[in-house]
């Protein structure tokens, strides 16, 4: 579904991505992990064409992303830090995104309902707590039933109950056959949720494996242990 070919990007002298090749398909729930500054966010931003790659190409369903903006209809994106205009209300934000997407049918309102957005529609964005702002971002990402979901640190800042609601939603959407990309530093919460791991280091893909393989090859039962084991064995080499 998403084909990434030889993507490189540098900001000035700092080379952030150095030849990334990835092939991501529907039904996968992928965790994009790696140390700070390894290029995760830049890679996501390139997929969303917020950042232009220096080299290489990204295509979604065979269509190059540089060929137009229509492909973004297929993507729901939840940013790590959502900051919205202070005086817009939640209702206006949702209305605005609906008018951009130009669709009012086939909406997925399950998160909207479980987060109780109905009661908050008149609240100004400037008065919301960080967690509530995250909920708005999550609702917007899932609302239009996009086949691809890109979630940047989705549960950071959410209270445990809401985080659980969001995780269940992510699992449900994965089972619906959507492609989900999650970046997270909380490895423990990725268990049960993700099916593949992409580990990035210094602008390169260090490894890309399915969770099951990873667990059996390292002889561990959860993701964080498996990753630690691999990292240790690498430093020993």
């Amino acid at each position: 579904m998403i084909d990434i070919k030889d993507i490189s990007k540098s900001f000035g002298k700092l080379s952030v991505l150095r030849g990334i090749d990835l092939n991501l398909n529907r039904g996968q729930c992928i965790a994009l992990i790696g140390p700070n500054g390894c290029g995760k966010t830049t890679l996501i931003k390139i997929i969303l064409s917020m950042v232009m790659a220096d080299k290489g190409e990204v295509s979604i369903n065979g269509q190059l992303i540089t060929k137009g903006i229509a492909y973004k209809k297929m993507i729901g994106y939840m940013p790590q830090i959502g900051r919205y205009p202070q005086n817009m209300t939640i209702g206006q934000i949702i209305e605005m995104v609906q008018s951009i997407r130009n669709t009012s049918e086939n909406l997925d309102l399950s998160l909207y309902q479980s987060f109780g957005m109905d009661a908050l529609l008149d609240k100004k964005m400037g008065t919301l707590s960080g967690g509530t702002t995250q909920k708005v971002s999550a609702v917007l990402a899932f609302m239009f039933n996009p086949p691809i979901l890109i979630l940047d640190e989705p549960t950071a800042g959410l209270d445990p109950i809401s985080a659980e609601i969001l995780k269940e939603k992510i699992i449900a959407e994965r089972n619906n056959g959507k492609l989900i990309i999650i970046t997270s530093h909380l490895l423990s919460e990725l268990d049960n949720m993700v099916s593949e791991i992409i580990f990035m280091q210094e602008g390169k893909v260090a490894f890309h494996q399915s969770v099951d393989k990873l667990k059996t090859s390292t002889g561990t039962t959860n993701i964080s242990e498996a990753i630690l084991r691999i990292l240790k064995s690498k430093t020993n080499e």
């Binding site: 064409s49 492909y71 994106y77 900051r83 205009p85 202070q86 605005m96 995104v97 951009i100 130009n102």
Partner: protein, 255 residues
Amino acid sequence: MNRILKYILLDILKNKFVIAYTIMLAVIGWSSFTLEDSSAKGILTLLNLILLTVPLVSILFAAIYIYNSAEFIELLISHPIKRKDIWLSLFGGLAGSMVIAFILGAGIPLIIYSDLNQSILMLAIGIIITVIFVALAMLCTIIYKDKAKGIGLTIILWIYFALLFDGILLFLMFQFSDYPIEKPMVALTALSPIDLSRILMLLQLDSAALLGYTGAIFNEFFGNTKGMIISFMLLLGWIVIPLIISLKKFNQKDL
């Protein structure tokens, strides 16, 4: 483009700073006319105050708003909407709301106290100056990604146009006073939208007589319809050129 313009415009109009700006303009407007004994003096006072405050507020507010909208712009880009539409909507929202604030604040006392022709020209100048400085702010924010640098640049631009440029003109006038420099002076004023507007307005007032020989030359150029059209075209250029440059840069920008 209209799909998001409405929401941005509403957001800015509800901003406390814009409301305070409207009130400030109203206070300036009413006091200029009620404190001076004639409406001609009043409009002169108002002209000077407007040419000082409107550019500063427009360029600073617009730049701060764009910097604060960085994450919002990212969010919009993740949706199927063209970068061009996002940028032009931001420009439209900012320019539109500042113009509305100007008309509500300064327009009402102008219409009440002053001669209709003069107040229409004054309003037109205020509106164009507002839009010019919003466009310059968009250019500043696209040149520097760093907020402190960008806002510094807007302040430098304001100091240059509002204060320094006059000084430079005066300096040139004294240095070259032995030569016939009146005509080059007319051309030089095109380099500052504030001076261009000031001259346009002054020539409509009786005080233009005080400008002496230079005033006569200015009058010869700006006083007729052709001169007016050319100077308004120049002012429009001050809007269009920064806006187009910023738009081109925004289309290629890494966020």
